[in-house]
Amino acid sequence: MKEPILEIRGLNKRFGPTHANKNIDFTLYQGEIRGLIGENGSGKSTLISQIAGVYSPDSGEMRIRGEKYCPQSPLDAYKQKISMVLQELGVVGNLPVGVNVFLGRTGQFTKNGVVSLKALNRAVAEQFEKWELPMPPLNSLTGNMMIETRKIVELARALSVDPDIILLDEITQSLSLNNRRKLYELLQKLKSMGRSVIIITHDVEELIEITDTITVLRDGEVVGNVVSANTTPDEVKRMMVGRDISGDYYRADKKAQYDDEVVLSVKNLTVAGELEDISFDVHAGEILGFCGLSDSGIHSVAKAVFGLSRASGGSVYLAAKDLYIKNPMQALINNVGYVPKDRDSEALMVNASVRENFALPSLGELTGPLGFVSPKNMKKLASEMVSKLSVKCEDIFQPVSSLSGGNKQKINLGRWLAKDLKLLILDCPTRGVDVGVKAYIYSLMKEAKKNKIAILLISDELTEIIGMADRLIVMKDGRMTKTISRDGDFTEQAVIEVMI
């Protein structure tokens, strides 16, 4: 092996009573791609936040290139050529892409106190080209862009300091397949340049594929280090959880099984600029998967079916209720549920309580005579769901913001299961949750399928769709390119061929 670039010895970090990092020893070598994995709350983000200078350790020592390293802020980290893309979005929405990339470092483009946007954008474009990233329009505001694009902007910013160590916290979950591939290539490129990478993701298979070594964390401690080439997903999962996890959390059967009853029938649906001529039927008890690259429009299908986009042509016919869905309100009162991709900004009221969040879609059902929504019934519903889904919370009045990602997702999905649904639209339901919760979400989906709920499963993770769907629809540029049934050639290979 080459020389160590970053050494950490006996690192401790506490947040009040929470011991987030316990005696962490960690060594990163030059040209190494290191994966960091662990359940939600195992201390991964805390660890790299300290390397990035966001938090200071309580005790322990960090050395970089053999010299003592105590960053007080991310700026100190930059000076040591360490850069990062952190979990929470870190772009300034009201500034254009170009300024975001060189945020805080625009001084070099300043002439007489005025920043030359031309020079700045030229430098930014160079960065995008150098690292072969897809370049968004440099003068548009980042606030209006998709999460994926914003993540890429952050990535460009991290790369623009020409880092020796780059820290990537759950970046792949925001990227679609094609951009993930770009990222993998980028990692290889960095490796060949002798740069080091620490990457966090929940996707075990992905991690094994793209990293050299993996460090597993559990309850704030390093459980072990493994060489990616010599390990299996099951071994890593076992280390993460501390016990055996059955490997088959997907469906075991290889046959498409659903009723003949059509629940939803979409005909020639067109949304200007997003979808072209989409037609499909979903049956009771069927899981219909949608997959495609980033601009394929799979997420727009979810919105359009739920009545959130204005269709310029075609129809969404809810056969189970004999009506056409034109707005989300109709969808809600006619037993259609929608789990959006971005749970914090699109689905949950993070500052409101667990109870409010659970009850929100069911308020119609909870309403009695004179429009009376009884707090008692709300409490009952929330308590039942909390115990049914084993949501880890102090009580139902706790604000959702204090829950972990997995528990938030349980609420996001679970609140719809409290209703008597006909159709459930899931947009990336396992995004950013650990294996335990992931397995649980799949079991919920299987249960919903058994209860004859029709499910639209939209996902950036191909394995998930292959694992769960009865049929899948491949989309490209807002059009449907192919429908494959579980009975047929239902493999990743077959899908990827038509997808790209």
């Binding site: 009040g16 009573p17 109709q330 929608y338 500052n351 409101a352 929100l360 119609g364 913001s401 972990s404």
Partner: protein
């Protein structure tokens, strides 16, 4: 024993109220006859009258604030409703027409605000600010044509404590019910918490927004009736600065500017009494010079702003905490409650 964690910004309004009340009560002590001027029956009656008006109007505005919007037009709406209603009552010779007309005018103005805000996505602040200025001109125009009008003799009997209390409690109970226990109220708070999430769940966001402004307008109309009965006539000063009083009452009560689940009905009582005791108390201790009174109001509002900023920071800190370790995050709740 599981306990609801007390939120910082929920406690402060109570303390503010108690401090204000005690301060002005003691400050109003009259050594000559050993009484507290604050607590004389006559003065308490004045406070109650004024507070009732603030509360009635705030009942409606609360829906708007809960959604994270603001209605600055309630004061001028009250004036317009009052002036038109009195004029109609006189012109038609049917005195009781005053009440439905006032409510209707208030409601229409509210609906207009609601349509503009919900359909055209205009900021409620800008729109109602424009309404505040523009409609005041309209009110003054009508006033110059009609001069000061007394309310019809037949309605004077309404100005008794019992009748007013009955109407007041009827309004408050209905509005409290709608706000706390119906879908409309809950949806309003959901919109304040996260408008996108509300929309993505299937809540008719536009309709609920329209409804909130309509209710706000309707309550301004009800406020006009209240004000006319109490004062006995229209005047140039009708509803001037009322919107500020109402909004301060809501914020002083502990509702955050962003609305959401911080909006609770009881808070408008707390806030309305607080603001009224300040205004009244300052007058009693001979500091009624308007600039001092206004300064005190401003300082209090600043204080509330500070509190909401601190509350926001604290909630963010606990969020950081929980992200770092979910297994131990429950203790975070205790820690916050303990402090």
């Amino acid at each position: 024993m599981k306990k609801r964690t007390l939120k910082f910004h929920d406690v402060v309004p109570f303390i503010t109220f108690i401090v204000i009340f005690l301060f002005f009560t003691i400050a109003s002590y009259n050594p000559r006859n050993g009484t507290f001027r604050m607590l004389t029956p006559l003065n308490l009656n004045t406070i109650l009258d004024q507070t009732m008006l603030t509360i009635v109007v705030a009942c409606g505005s609360l829906f708007v604030v809960a959604q994270g919007s603001i209605d600055l037009s309630v004061g001028v709406n009250l004036a317009l409703s009052g002036v038109i209603a009195t004029w109609v009552a006189h012109a038609t010779g049917i005195p009781f027409l005053l009440i439905p007309v006032a409510l209707l005018v208030g409601l229409l103005v509210g609906i207009f605000n609601g349509i503009i805000v919900s359909r055209f996505k205009v900021s409620s602040f800008m729109l109602t600010l424009a309404m505040l200025i523009g409609m005041r001109g309209l009110v003054n125009f009508i006033q110059t044509k009609t001069h000061t009008q007394r309310i019809p003799e037949e309605l004077v009997f309404l100005n008794t404590p019992v009748v007013k209390a009955l109407i007041f409690f009827a309004i408050v109970i209905i509005m409290a019910y709608v706000f706390e226990f119906t879908k409309t109220g809950r949806y309003s708070r959901a919109i304040g918490e996260n408008e996108t999430a509300a929309m993505f769940v299937g809540i008719p966001v536009k309709r609920i927004k329209l409804l909130a402004f309509a209710l706000s307008g309707l309550m301004a109309g009800a406020g006009a009736v209240f004000s006319l009965i109490t004062v006995g006539s229209t005047s140039q000063q009708m509803g001037v600065f009322l919107e500020i009083r109402v909004i301060m009452a809501i914020f002083l009560g502990g509702v955050l500017v962003t609305g959401g689940s911080s909006a609770k009905f009881y808070k408008i009582f707390l806030g309305s009494f607080s603001i009224q005791i300040i205004i009244n108390g300052l007058a009693l201790i001979n500091r009624s010079d308007s600039h001092i009174s206004q300064s005190v109001q401003g300082i209090l509002l600043l204080l509330m702003l500070l509190v909401s900023v601190i509350a926001e920071k604290r909630s963010r800190r606990t969020r950081d905490l929980s992200d770092s370790d979910s297994a131990n995050k429950r203790r975070a709740g205790f820690r916050r409650a303990g402090r």
